[in-house]
């Protein structure tokens, strides 16, 4: 049943020769009162399903002049560690076809300065604050999760388990089902905050990792993190990134991430957040239809800081045009 007749078209197409930003004309419309956009992710109530992705939105304040944070589903912070981290030497980024590689090396201000310098802004930003965090050992993850649990204003945690485990020869926590299980269990024990575990795509069977993380007590999953990649300068015959390899993000990875989300939602019963190359509402809707309960926008923010809002506008328009009244009608609605 079609509830609304509207002159709005979806998706909006720039006219011939129209300049470079369709988003500029895609301001989010006010959702009619009976359009239900809210979702709950492992106990975190989101007014809409569009979040920012960790590492692309800083600590929120960086974008305060360019986007109304109050209208975001949630803000996910830059990954925090117990102690401040320098990060990797530059060059840290290089553009690739429809994407980019980064090897930032998780530079961050550390827990103490995060709480004293960054949380006061975030606490008043109006959107639920999800703190992404990481460590180099199980104990570090647990200690940091415990400390973050005592900080007022944090709605949930997102554990980045795509880190090398220094006690296991630097093997990435997230690439081994046993280690992923162990670390999730340790964090779960240390904190009662809603726990999202962010999975790495650099594995053979992401659904198997997802199951082990669910069994260990995670409330939700976000996937995917970046795909490890490399670019070589043929003149110098050196890798372009000082770190040699980096994480690939942007539209280039979207079909890969979407496939992994689709594979994972079939295997777990906890909510899955879709991440990977989402630039516009069409992209976001694909993840929702595949079964993601929410999405995160990352690299797309660099091009269009207001992308989360234009994506919400596009999702609302899609719902109105097709007579949907609740976002849940779209989530997992894939016809096969």
């Amino acid at each position: 049943m079609k509830l609304f007749v509207t002159a709005l078209h979806y998706p909006p197409q720039p006219g011939p020769g129209a300049p470079h930003n369709a988003h500029a004309t895609m301001e989010s419309i006010m959702a009619p009162d009976n359009l239900h956009l809210s979702v709950t992710i492992g106990g975190i109530a989101l007014r809409n399903p569009v979040m920012t992705a960790s590492g692309t939105f800083g600590y929120g304040e960086e974008y305060a002049e360019l986007i109304d944070l109050n209208r975001l589903g949630a803000v996910v912070t830059k990954g925090i560690s117990l102690l401040p981290s320098h990060g990797n030497p530059p060059p840290r980024i290089v553009e690739t076809p429809s994407g980019m590689l980064n090897a930032i090396g998780l530079q961050n201000v550390g827990f103490e300065r995060f709480v004293s310098e960054k949380m006061p802004f975030l606490r008043n930003a109006g959107a639920p604050v999800v703190v992404n965090f990481y460590g180099c050992a199980v104990d570090e993850y647990a200690e940091l999760a415990r400390k973050l649990s005592d900080v007022p204003g944090i709605a949930g945690l997102e554990a980045n388990i795509s880190c090398p485990n220094i006690n296991e020869g630097g093997m990435c926590f997230g690439t081994d089902a046993g280690m992923a299980h162990g670390i999730t269990k340790a964090i779960r024990k240390a904190s009662a905050l809603p726990l999202i575990v962010k999975l790495t795509p650099n594995v053979t069977d992401v659904a198997a990792i997802a199951r082990s993380v669910e069994e260990a007590g995670a409330d939700a999953l976000s996937l995917t993190n970046t795909f490890t990649g490399m670019v070589i300068d043929i003149e110098t015959r050196r890798p372009v990134l000082a770190n040699t390899t980096g994480g690939l993000s942007g539209p280039a990875i979207r079909p890969l991430a979407l496939r992994m989300v689709w594979e994972t939602v079939k295997e777990v019963s906890i909510p899955v957040i879709g991440v990977g190359g989402i630039m516009d509402a069409t992209d976001a809707l694909q993840f929702l239809i595949a079964g993601a309960k929410a999405v995160q926008v990352g690299t797309g923010l660099f091009v269009h800081p207001e992308a989360p809002l234009s994506i919400m506008g596009g999702i609302e328009r899609y719902m109105i045009d097709r007579g949907f009244v609740d976002i849940e009608q779209i989530i997992g609605s894939l016809e096969t």
């Binding site: 720039p14 020769g17 300049p19 470079h20 930003n21 369709a22 500029a24 590492g55 692309t56 939105f57 800083g58 960086e62 974008y63 002049e65 360019l66 830059k78 990954g79 320098h86 990060g87 990797n88 030497p89 530059p90 060059p91 840290r92 980024i93 290089v94 553009e95 076809p97 429809s98 994407g99 980019m100 980064n102 090897a103 930032i104 090396g105 998780l106 530079q107 990481y134 980045n160 795509s162 090398p164 630097g170 790495t200 993190n225 970046t226 490890t228 770190n243 040699t244 390899t245 980096g246 994480g247 942007g250 539209p251 630039m279 690299t299 923010l301 660099f302 091009v303 800081p305 207001e306």
Partner: protein
């Protein structure tokens, strides 16, 4: 600073030399807010490839218009070279910190390598039009007479201009930093102390300039170029190594820069990788 995203029309496009373009863009709010040394992030296509915005130092900002001087170096600038007046472009700015020149400064020495002249042209215009009494001297380095002839587009009648070319086809035969070093070490009335040296160009050039400035006990402000993704300090992709009490730290070129004091830059950590620990992504 107040960055904003503007949809602004190109009013003029000039090809100053093969591969060097000057775009004039009508953007009154941006022009009003911008100061020399600041930059903008320009979206080159809506087609997602090339994906990222491109950073450009502003070359001018006056009368409701901004000017961008660029050299075609890659896919982004190749697309931009095809833009024509009347087209509207998506431009975010102003971003970053500009140059800081004290009123009591007797002279400003602006040292450029190639396309690095862009922010220094804005600075020279600003200093001259501010009627500050500051003597402005420009040292322009490039490959050849052709390249340094870029400057003929601009009114530099109130400045002294010196040229250095790699092939000796115009002015000093050699590096612009050698030209500048000769200038300050021979008696040309170089004003030590309060004067300011400002530079923009390749990193090795800026490092040499910084050494000269510190030897001459003069302030040195360098506009650094870096690959950027966000331009607003969120992605940490564009960092510059700076000296700290106990070592160094990586500062964001887009926010804490792009203009840095030469004495703050930790050159060792700019050139040599400090650690090879696996990136944590």
């Amino acid at each position: 600073m107040h960055p904003e995203i503007f949809q602004s029309p190109i009013t003029e496009k000039e090809e100053l030399l093969p591969g060097f373009f000057y775009l004039t863009i009508e953007s009154p709010v941006l022009a009003k807010r911008s100061v020399p040394g600041q930059f903008v992030m320009v979206q080159v296509t809506n087609a997602k490839d090339p994906l990222l915005r491109r950073p450009f130092s502003l070359c001018s900002a006056a009368d409701g218009k901004v000017g961008i001087l660029f050299q075609v170096k890659g896919r982004g600038t190749a697309i931009m070279s095809g833009w024509e007046p009347g087209e509207s472009i998506n431009i975010m700015g102003p971003l970053g910190n500009g140059f800081g020149v004290h009123q009591s400064c007797p002279a400003a020495y602006l040292v450029a390598g190639g396309i690095g002249i862009a922010p220094l042209l804005f600075l020279s215009t600003f200093l001259v039009s501010a009627d500050s009494g500051i003597a402005v001297k420009i040292f322009m380095g490039g490959r050849s007479a052709g390249e340094v002839s870029l400057l003929s587009r601009f009114d530099l009648s109130a400045c002294d201009v010196f040229f250095a070319t790699d092939d000796g086809s115009k002015g000093f035969h050699g590096l612009v930093t050698d030209l500048f070093d000769d200038y300050v070490t021979t008696d040309h009335g170089f004003l030590r102390g309060n004067s300011i040296i400002a530079g923009c160009g390749p990193l090795p050039m800026l490092q040499t300039l910084s050494r000269i400035a510190s030897r001459e006990e003069s302030a040195c402000q360098l506009s650094l170029e870096a690959h950027m993704a966000c331009g607003v300090g969120a992605c940490l992709g564009c960092v510059t190594a700076t000296k700290q009490e106990n070592g160094f730290s990586y500062k964001r070129t887009c926010v804490e820069g792009p203009v840095f004091s030469g004495s703050d830059i930790d050159w060792d950590h700019m050139q040599l990788p400090v650690c090879r620990s696996a990136a944590l992504r």
